[in-house]
Structures are given as structure tokens and as C-alpha cells.
């Protein structure tokens, strides 16, 4: 099982009654697996992580074991309920699974979730493989209920997406009897009540540190005493790989730390090193105990660790004997929008209008890459509309008619609705282009409140974006099919000139979706003689197009080459057709 499958399995085995999440790599498949395999668990996508955690908190207040699942930056969104949940505590167990992304394989930053555990005064467990991911989820629920606290289970990309063998067990429900529990001093965080809860939180942390001393997943593994390594999570596996004979203190609970255990281990080894991904979290804890230790000075703060990085950092060189290298100038192969992607069409229309684009997070973030190059900023989920509003109102004529925001449908429901309301409320003339592809595409096509279906494919409401904009007071709302690039281009031009905020909904289903498909799935062809080699089509970056350069220019030839279409890849979206000024692109008869 992958780490994500193992956590889903753990949710089943440890009697979870409710699970809520917003998709985010690398955590997405946890709820997907719960949805597919474990009907015993009430599970659904939430519009964002804050709501997911609040839904989970509700279940936990009702005595039901519950799970909120998210990627690291999702906890920023959920930070508000998280910080005070620490004060109210729970009733049924509550675990927040947060998956970090060292190396930023699919993320905008590499923040370290363990800091939130310390910040929120909440215990944090960290598994090092799939079996531990499942087992520790069970431990997390026990701790949650015994100490009346939410618990973080910190994963990472390499835990979520690594597969290893897992032993399974039967489902057992938690010890708490479900029901409505009235207890305002515990659950109503008025200042007067909260003042009484805070000392309990501090007391709880002390008890947890004591508990950590005997927590079975905190383990001393003695080997050679010349090198002692304190480590946790997947970093422990890298360290074991690099230094199989060293002594280890493997921490399963990374917050709070077990001081006596660390003192004992430190006294048994000659050289002490902390090996951990990202921040010097354990290292600083060890230093505060007055123990001399090495850590980030060797392993560095950025990117993910690996066995060979550790060998080089600690021993000065790697033991591996690799093959003779190949020196070659390799073209990069970044991810790209798919053939037929409606975002490519929308960006092409935006490009024709030469606008500044405040971006957002989704497949359309790839529009930043060459040759499209049509994103000028991208900060976090839902930020684009607010940034465009701020640019527009502060710069006035300097931005008028030149700056737009783009946002996807799922991101809009996640955290784009409030900035859209701000824009309507405070005015200005910003244009928002909502790139509505009817799914959460980047994470693998999950449903959201606008698709009409739930996690388990059951039919449900379809949130209506047009009506929402109307309710917010938008007077200018246009729905356009992005594949009609020229029309979209003129709509954008018109809205940019308007003196009030406007919303353009550029709507066509993701090219990978099978339902609601409007793509003809018939390839186009380019008449090589009619092609002038201007590259208008090529500059969309469509993988179905290729520019064929002349090796030797024929006599009298002005072009450098001509464009062709790979008919195996082309789905006939006609974006290139709309852009071609020379009628060189035809349908295949």
C-alpha cells in the first residue's frame, strides 16, 4: 500500500466515522481511497481545508472519531480553527493528517508542519513508512482521546506516495459514545472560558512530554556508538540507508520531544547528529536541552534529503559506484497543459490582449511557463482576485484595462468567493476570468460544489457561479466558450474597457474529462504550403504541434520552417485554428 492507502485503511480499522478534505498533492488519495473502499466512513470533499477541519471538529465534538486531511499549505487555511481546537480539545478522537512536500514537487513552498504542532501546542506523530502510517493513526486517536487534544499526523510526499507492505486488521470503533455533548466552558471559547482552558493546554503538553518517554514508537536502536543519529519520518529511512551500522534514536512523536530519552541516547554515543527534512525542529529542541549536536550545518535547510546527500554531508563522499556520466545539454521536460486544454485557449485570448495576469493555483498555473508565459504572479489558493483588486485600485490608470485575475472553478469555491465579494463591495474596474473546467484538474479530477457530484459520485447540488456573482452585485457577467478564441478575445477587450468590476466565465470541461465532453476528438491538419511559419500556433505550447525547421532552406524560401500537427495527440480543440491568420489549418476529412 502507498502511505495514503495505508492512512485510509487506518481510518477504517480505527473506527473513523467521518473524514473531510480538500484535494492537495500529496494528500489527495487518502480521501479518494476512503471514498472508494470504506463506505462505513462518512466522507466528502470540503470546499477548503478550514471547512474540512471544522466539519471534522463537529464530528469529534459529537464523540465520533474524525479525520481532516490536507497538504501542508492547507493547514495555513485551516490554522484558525486548528489553533483554538487545541483549547477546546475534543470528545471523540480527532486527527489532522498534514502532508508536507520537501523539494516542492507539487507545491508553492516547503513549510514544515511540525512548527504548527509547537505553535498550537498539539502533539505530532511522524511515520516512516506505510505500516507505521496506519499504526500511528491508531496511536494518534488513542492520544487524542486520552489527552483531550487534536493530534497531527505529519506525512510527506515520500510517505504518501511510497509503497510498502502493510498488515491489515479488523475495524474497531473508538471508546466514546456518540451524541450531543453540552459543556459550554469546554467548547465555547469566550475569553472567560478560554482563560480557563489555556492552563489545561500547558499542563497537557507537560503530560504529553512525559508520555513521549515511553511511547513505543520512540525507540533507541543501538549500533556502533561512534555515530548516533536522531531522526524521524522518511528521513530516518534515508539515514538507515546511508549509515546502516550507526546508532539511532527514532522518534515516532516529534512534538513534544522526550527529554530523558534524548539525554540517555546522547550520553551513549560519541558523535550526535539530527537528521530531519526541512527545519531544524528536533535539532533546536535538543540544543535547548543543553546537548551538543550537529544537524542543519551538515544537511542544509532546503529541499529533501536523500541517502547520498547524507553520505556526502556526514562522511564527505558517497559510497556508490555509478556508471560513467553522459555530458549532454538536455532540454527540460516540465509539465504542460494537455492537448485540447481549455486553459490554453483562454490564455491565448488573454495574450492577444497583452494583459498583466494575477494568477492562482491549478493546472492554469502552468500558463506561466514558456512559450505561453501568461502568468505574472501566483501566491496561494484564491489570492489572484484580491491581488488584481489591490493592483487595480492602487495603480488606477496605470493598471486600468491592463490587469486581470484568473482563477479556476475549484480554487474559486476554495477561497475565491470572498475576494470576489471584496471586489464587488469596494469597486474598481478589475476583470476576473474564471477558468471553469468543471473539475479540480491538477490533483486528478476531484469533484467540487460546482460539479453536481460528491466524492462517491452521488448526484448533489451544482453551485451556480453566475447567480453567486449576481448576488454579490456584479452587473457584468459573461459566459464564453474558450475555444472560440477570437470571441473570447473581444469579450476580454470589452470588459477591460468597462468602468466597473466584471466577471468572465470561460467555461469548457477539462480535456481529460469523459463526461460533458465538447471536444470533437477529431484531429486537425496543417497545410504545410499554406503555413507561413509565423508560429502563432506553436507559441500556444500545445504538445500536438511541432515546428519543423528546414535543414537546408529551399531556394526562394522565406520561412525558417513550418508547423505540423501530431494527429495522434490532437483532439481538435481548434485553438490553433482560431489563431492562424493564413487559413493553413484544416479539418481532416
Amino acid at each position: 500500500m502507498s502511505g495514503n492507502e495505508a492512512i485510509a485503511r487506518g481510518a477504517y480499522e480505527y473506527g473513523v466515522g467521518l473524514a473531510s478534505a480538500y484535494p492537495g498533492t500529496p494528500s489527495t488519495e487518502i480521501l479518494e481511497n476512503i471514498g472508494k473502499k470504506y463506505p462505513e466512513i462518512r466522507a466528502g470533499w470540503a470546499p477548503n481545508e478550514k471547512v474540512a477541519l471544522e466539519v471534522a471538529a463537529g464530528a469529534a465534538y459529537g464523540g465520533v472519531r474524525s479525520l481532516a486531511l490536507m497538504k501542508h499549505v492547507g493547514l495555513n487555511v485551516a490554522a484558525d480553527p486548528f489553533m483554538t481546537l487545541s483549547y477546546t480539545g475534543i470528545n471523540g478522537g480527532l486527527v489532522v493528517v498534514v502532508c508536507d512536500d520537501p523539494e516542492m514537487h507539487s507545491s508553492q513552498n516547503e513549510q514544515d508542519t511540525r512548527n504548527y504542532a509547537k505553535f498550537g501546542k498539539v502533539p505530532c506523530l511522524e511515520p516512516s513508512d506505510s505500516q507505521e502510517a496506519k499504526d500511528m493513526l491508531g496511536e494518534a486517536f488513542k492520544i487524542s482521546e486520552e489527552f483531550d487534544t487534536p493530534v497531527i499526523l505529519r506525512g510527506s510526499t515520500r510517505i504518501s506516495h511510497s509503497m510498502s507492505l502493510v498488515e491489515t486488521k479488523e475495524r474497531v470503533l473508538g471508546p466514546v459514545e456518540p451524541g450531543l455533548r453540552k459543556e459550554p466552558p469546554k467548547f465555547v471559547m469566550l475569553p472567560g472560558f478560554a482563560r480557563r482552558r489555556h492552563p489545561l493546554v500547558e499542563e497537557r503538553l507537560k503530560k504529553l512530554a512525559e508520555f513521549a518517554e515511553t511511547f513505543p514508537f520512540n525507540q533507541i536502536i543501538m549500533g556502533d556508538d561512534s555515530l548516533g543519529i536522531i531522526s524521524a519520518g522518511v528521513a530516518f529511512q534515508y539515514a538507515r540507508e546511508a549509515f546502516p551500522n550507526a546508532s539511532f534514536l527514532k522518534l515516532g512523536m516529534v512534538w513534544p520531544l522526550p527529554p530523558r530519552m534524548i539525554q540517555e541516547f546522547a550520553s551513549k554515543v560519541k558523535r550526535l547528529i539530527v537528521i530531519e527534512d526541512l527545519d531544524p525542529f528536533i535539532e533546536e529542541g535538543v540544543r535547548l536541552m543543553g546537548i551538543q549536536v550537529q544537524g542543519k550545518e551538515l544537511t542544509g535547510l532546503c529541499g529533501e534529503l536523500s541517502a547520498e546527500k547524507l553520505e556526502k554531508a556526514v562522511l564527505g563522499s558517497s559510497s556508490a559506484k555509478g556508471v560513467a556520466p553522459i555530458e549532454m545539454d538536455l532540454p527540460m521536460r516540465p509539465p504542460n497543459m494537455c492537448p485540447g486544454c481549455p486553459h490554453r485557449a483562454t490564455f491565448s485570448a488573454l495574450k492577444k490582449n497583452k494583459v498583466y495576469v494575477a494568477g492562482d493555483i491549478g493546472c492554469y498555473t502552468l500558463g506561466a511557463l514558456p512559450p505561453m508565459g501568461m502568468l505574472d504572479n501566483c501566491l496561494c489558493m484564491g489570492a489572484g482576485i484580491g491581488i488584481a483588486s489591490g493592483l487595480g485600485r492602487s495603480l488606477g490608470d496605470l493598471a486600468k484595462g491592463k490587469a486581470v485575475a484568473v482563477i479556476g472553478d475549484s480554487t474559486f469555491f476554495h477561497s475565491g468567493m470572498t475576494p470576489l465579494l471584496e471586489l464587488a463591495y469596494n469597486g474598481g474596474s478589475t476583470t476576473v476570468v474564471l477558468m471553469d473546467n468543471r473539475t479540480t484538474a491538477m490533483t486528478g479530477a476531484q469533484h467540487h460544489p460546482g460539479t453536481g457530484f460528491t466524492l462517491r459520485q452521488d448526484p448533489t447540488i451544482t453551485a451556480d457561479i453566475e447567480k453567486l456573482a449576481d448576488a454579490f452585485g456584479f452587473k457584468r457577467v459573461t459566459v464564453v466558450n474558450p475555444y472560440e478564441v477570437q470571441k473570447l478575445q473581444s469579450v476580454i477587450k470589452e470588459e477591460l474597457e468597462a468602468d466597473e468590476p466584471s466577471l468572465i466565465i470561460s467555461r469548457a470541461p477539462c480535456a481529460l474529462l469523459k463526461t460533458g465532453r465538447i471536444l470533437p476528438d477529431k484531429p486537425l491538419r496543417i497545410d504545410a504550403d499554406a503555413c507561413k511559419g509565423c508560429k502563432s500556433c506553436i507559441n500556444t505550447g500545445c504538445p500536438a504541434l511541432e515546428f519543423v525547421k528546414f535543414k537546408e532552406k529551399p531556394e526562394g524560401e522565406k520561412r525558417q520552417g513550418y508547423s505540423t500537427i501530431n494527429e495522434a495527440l490532437c483532439v481538435g480543440c481548434r485553438t490553433c485554428y482560431e489563431l492562424c491568420k493564413f487559413d493553413a489549418i484544416k479539418e481532416v476529412s
Partner: protein, 195 residues
């Protein structure tokens, strides 16, 4: 194969080529053979036509890291010429190479900004003379379905590993939809016959 009786296989190519399924099956095969197994790959943004790599490690003793150390891969199985070079440094000095004789042009090449390197196969063969180059697309077309490319290469790969073919067959039967089993079993044996 290598030190500590761990076999390290890295499978690389381009998003959409079926790399994840191939490595999933290999992982299950190794587990069925009684080995401890760890497997890792990168999902997410890499799926959109980006470069993809999957690491599979197995052996009779417990496996620690899910990632292969640079210079320790026993087999580099590559579904695309250029990607072979991108992950070349993972290969050990005694490692084997299996390459699909196929080019998928990256954006800088299909937009005419950069050339696709011309002599990749020569460079590979200079360093690892017994590299196996297979025209996978041709073999898949012969079977009438280009999507079985990944299982053809699983067949090629199986001849380099010490796990019986029957175990691959069992796992393929279990992991695929019933209507796809027959053609994939054919593809697997086609791959074995190519070596």
C-alpha cells in the same frame, strides 16, 4: 543483485506512458515472490506530460529508503530516449539499461527553440555496451494496442530479474480489468521474446 541483496529498478519516461502501472505491477510481483518491497514515484504536476520516474527496490532483507541512491540502480528501464539521460546518474557501474527507441519531443524542441540530442543511443551504448534497445511502439502496434507498451517493457525487464514469469502473470491477472488481461499477457510474453 547489488549490495545487501537489494535489487534497485528505476523506471523513467514521460507522463502518460504507463510507468506508474508498470512499477505497481513490479512491486506486487516482488512482494508475491516473498521479498520486502518499497516503491516511490512522483505524482501531481509531473503527470501533465512531464518527466516521470518511479523507483522500485526489493530483496530478502528489510528495505529502508524508498528512493534509490544515485549510482546504485541495477536496472534503468526507460520509455523514452531523452529521459534515459536525465536519470542516467542513478545507474550503477554494473547496471543494465533497457531503452525504448522512441522520442517524445519536450516543449523547447517542438516549439523549435532547442534540438533533440541526436546521438543518445550511441552515448548509452558507449558506456553500457550490452544496453537493450527495443522498438516498443512497433511491438505494441503489432499487438494492435499502443497502450500495452508498458507491459511489453515489463516483459523485457522480467528477463533481467530473478523472479519467475508465472508470478508476473498472476499479478497482471489480478491488477487489470478482465477484458485487458489477455492482451497484456500477450504483451508481457512479446516483451520477454524481444530479448
Amino acid at each position: 543483485m547489488s549490495t545487501n541483496n537489494v535489487t534497485n529498478v528505476i523506471i523513467v519516461g514521460v507522463g502518460g506512458q504507463g510507468i506508474i502501472l508498470a512499477s505497481d505491477v513490479l512491486g506486487r510481483v516482488a512482494a508475491r515472490n516473498g521479498y520486502d518491497v518499497k516503491k516511490n514515484e512522483i505524482h501531481g504536476m509531473a503527470q501533465r506530460g512531464g518527466s516521470v520516474s518511479s523507483h522500485v527496490r526489493f530483496g530478502p532483507n528489510p528495505i529502508s529508503s524508498p528512493i534509490i541512491k544515485m549510482g546504485e540502480a541495477d536496472v534503468l528501464l526507460s520509455f523514452e530516449q531523452l529521459e534515459t539521460v536525465r536519470y542516467w546518474d542513478f545507474l550503477s557501474a554494473s547496471g543494465k539499461v533497457i531503452v525504448n527507441d522512441h522520442k517524445i519531443l519536450p516543449p523547447a524542441v517542438f516549439t523549435g527553440q532547442q534540438e533533440y540530442p541526436a546521438d543518445i543511443l550511441e552515448q548509452i551504448k558507449q558506456r553500457v555496451p550490452d544496453s537493450v534497445v527495443v522498438n516498443g511502439l512497433e511491438a505494441a502496434s503489432k499487438l494492435g494496442n499502443p497502450r500495452v507498451l508498458n507491459v511489453i517493457f515489463l516483459g523485457v525487464l522480467s528477463t533481467f530479474l530473478d523472479i519467475p514469469a508465472e508470478i508476473y502473470e498472476e499479478v497482471l491477472k489480478e491488477s487489470l480489468k478482465p477484458k485487458l488481461v489477455e492482451i497484456n499477457l500477450k504483451a508481457f510474453h512479446e516483451g520477454r521474446a524481444l530479448v
